[in-house]
């Protein structure tokens, strides 16, 4: 029995019953994909193929193919890495933090958001892996494994090694959390397949569901597991982008050596992640006709998260500048002055416009409940967040202490190629997920049908 507020808007519209939920969500797994899906999937595969060629060439020839030089040793690779990791954060925020806060609106969107997290982290990981050059030796450099160089172990004082542990733990725990959520829904598809007489599908989905039977005792344990995984994932997700920001913050490079990086990076991560969730879900709800499950109300709530995190990021940009001026360190001040007025001024001002000004439009209810406006703004936010990482990374290092070492970064086709590779990988994986996995958590949505669904009158 649940208390229901009459003030809250319905989370599920269209007068759905519990049975409708099974039907509406499972249908996409059971039916053949439509033409739109095939077109989108083919485009992703082409991107993936082209990107894969660039990545293979990079591994064959070495990272000299990138546009890096003596001064700018980190550019697009790490920009893209941080960008993708950041995108992943929204999935964990939705599934873990909103679970701890008992926010029911997470239930229609957590499955797809978690899938996005997992694919985004895979995309992110390709960049540092590729940057190691000789990838096949990377295990020895990145993990504390016994090796033939004496007993030389990995350096646990380095934030780059912390990253290895943070990202791999984050990936593993997110994957487990996501999979635990999928288990009861796989059982739904298994039982529907049994009833339809599709033996192959029933066997596959039974294996995927680990023989789930929905017993009260299992549900009790399951809820306990979900709650603890949420409790573990919450500090985990905050730690991941904190540690990513340590890659910069623990250095002594002006522009990077900043104590506000951890909270600022985490806010930025959630900001860009929610934008990506919106981009994906607006398309998914349209293609799969899920308007009754992912409602305008869901979109509005996500837009509110975007205003909040976007404003935190905006304050962080201003604080950085203030501290650079107030700290009276010439090198530090120059780094920031150069960001806004130097040769990369256009990147800086793109970042400011996309991240600080554009999300403020969501203060208007008309805009934050408008699908087209939300879709456009969600893409603008992600462009802005890419520029943020580019600005932080490249503008801080391209003008070294010695003017004779000053340099510019120009990307090559291989820089672009690997970025395209991750887009291909991300969307290919997401479309496969949308075809073969239930895109909405059926069990959770069913549990709120009685309290939060719009009743037929």
């Amino acid at each position: 029995m649940q208390a229901t507020s009459s003030v809250r808007e319905s989370l599920i519209t269209g007068g759905k019953t519990v049975r409708d939920v099974s039907e509406d969500i499972s249908r996409h797994v059971e039916n053949k994909p439509n033409r739109l899906w095939w077109i989108a999937f083919s485009i992703s595969l082409v991107l993936f193929g082209f990107g894969f060629y660039c990545l293979a060439a990079l591994l064959w020839e070495g990272i000299g193919l990138w546009g890096l030089n003596k001064t700018v040793g980190w550019a697009w690779d790490i920009t893209n890495f941080v960008w993708w990791v950041g995108i992943g954060h929204a999935g964990t925020l939705i599934s873990a933090i909103l679970l701890l806060f008992r926010q029911k609106w997470r239930m229609s969107i957590n499955r797809a958001a978690e899938a996005m997290t997992i694919f985004a982290v895979i995309c992110a990981a390709t960049f540092p892996l590729a940057h190691m050059g000789r990838l096949w030796l990377g295990f020895y450099w990145a993990l504390p494994l016994p090796n033939t160089w004496g007993s030389l172990w990995a350096n646990f004082n380095s934030p780059l090694l912390w990253d290895v542990f943070a990202i791999s733990t984050y990936f593993t725990v997110s994957l487990v959390f996501w999979y635990i959520g999928l288990i009861p829904d796989f059982a739904v598809i298994r039982d529907r397949a049994t009833r339809m007489g599709n033996k192959t599908r029933a066997t596959i989905y039974n294996a995927l569901s680990f023989g789930w039977d929905g017993a009260a005792k299992t549900w009790m344990r399951y809820e306990s597991v979900a709650l603890i995984l949420a409790g573990l994932s919450t500090p985990l997700v905050l730690s991941v982008h904190t540690i990513v920001s340590f890659d910069f913050a623990t250095s002594v490079v002006p522009g990077w050596h900043t104590t506000i990086f951890p909270p600022y990076f985490v806010a930025g991560a959630i900001f860009s992640g929610f934008a990506m969730v919106l981009t994906l879900l607006i398309v998914t709800r349209k293609v799969f006709k899920l308007e009754d499950y992912i409602t305008i109300y869901h979109i509005e709530l996500m837009n509110i998260v975007i205003i909040i995190t976007g404003s935190i990021v905006g304050i962080a940009y201003i604080t950085e500048f203030f501290v650079a001026w107030y700290g009276m360190v010439p090198a530090e001040f120059y780094a920031f002055y150069n960001r806004a007025t130097g040769p990369y001024w256009w990147a800086y001002w793109s970042m400011m416009t996309c991240n600080v000004i554009s999300p403020q439009l969501f203060w208007f209810k008309k805009i934050r409940t408008n699908i087209v406006a939300t879709f456009v703004l969600s893409i603008i936010v992600n462009i802005g967040m890419w520029f943020e990482r580019f600005v932080i990374i490249v503008t801080s290092i391209h003008r070294d202490y010695l003017p004779s070492s000053w340099s510019m970064f120009y990307p090559t086709v291989y820089d672009l190629g690997e970025y395209i590779f991750t887009f291909g990988l991300f969307f290919t994986a997401f479309f496969l997920f949308a075809k073969f996995f239930p895109v909405i958590n059926m069990a959770e949505v069913k549990s709120i049908i009685k309290s939060s669904s719009e009743k037929k009158h």
Partner: protein, 175 residues
């Protein structure tokens, strides 16, 4: 599948609130419920069925503790004793830089250990075929299974109690 000769009475409930009251009523009449199968977690069902709280949180804590000690031991032994290296003139063993890896391994072992324990205690594995009392239990029906051998009351008496407590259907199921 070969027959095991087990006979069950299966009550079907359409609504979670009726189910919760039904379970209470049925247990008051002295009927032993084998298990209830629901399509989604019904809050309070474990309490009315009289289940003890899960001890999985304890497992999670112990696995987490293992992760913490493993991570600290590994880092202190590797950098402090096995192959000490001077890195920026800092101490060989200092706790702050070891915290991130320690935290991550705590979370990792806690999560993986707890989930593995969950699979083991719930007997969940990819090659398991679960017993289906009613196939609608993953769709929209709450299914109550009553083992006739474990109850003293007759089949008809239990059937009447089920109906009186809100079951919309009562079926027999033999394995």
């Amino acid at each position: 599948m070969s027959s095991t000769g087990e006979k069950f009475l299966v009550g079907i409930f359409d609504d979670e609130d009726i189910l919760l009251h039904g379970v209470e009523g049925i247990r008051e009449k002295g009927v032993k419920i084998h298990e209830v199968y629901t399509p989604f977690p019904v809050h309070g069902l474990d309490e009315v069925l009289g289940y003890k709280r899960s001890r999985l949180p304890i497992a999670a804590f112990l696995f987490g503790l293992t992760g913490t000690s493993l991570a600290l031991t590994m880092q202190i032994w590797m950098l402090g004793f096995d192959w000490p290296m001077i890195i920026g003139g800092k101490n060989f063993v200092s706790l702050p830089p070891f915290i991130p890896v320690t935290f991550e391994l705590t979370v990792l072992l806690s999560a993986l250990g707890m989930v593995a324990t969950f699979f083991i205690v719930s007997d969940m594995k990819p090659y398991k075929t679960p017993r289906t009392y009613d196939i609608r239990s993953t769709d929209d029906k709450h299914v109550m299974a009553i083992d006739l051998a474990a109850n003293k009351l007759s089949k008809d008496e239990i059937g009447q109690i089920l109906k009186a407590n809100g079951a919309s259907e009562v079926n027999e199921k033999n394995f």
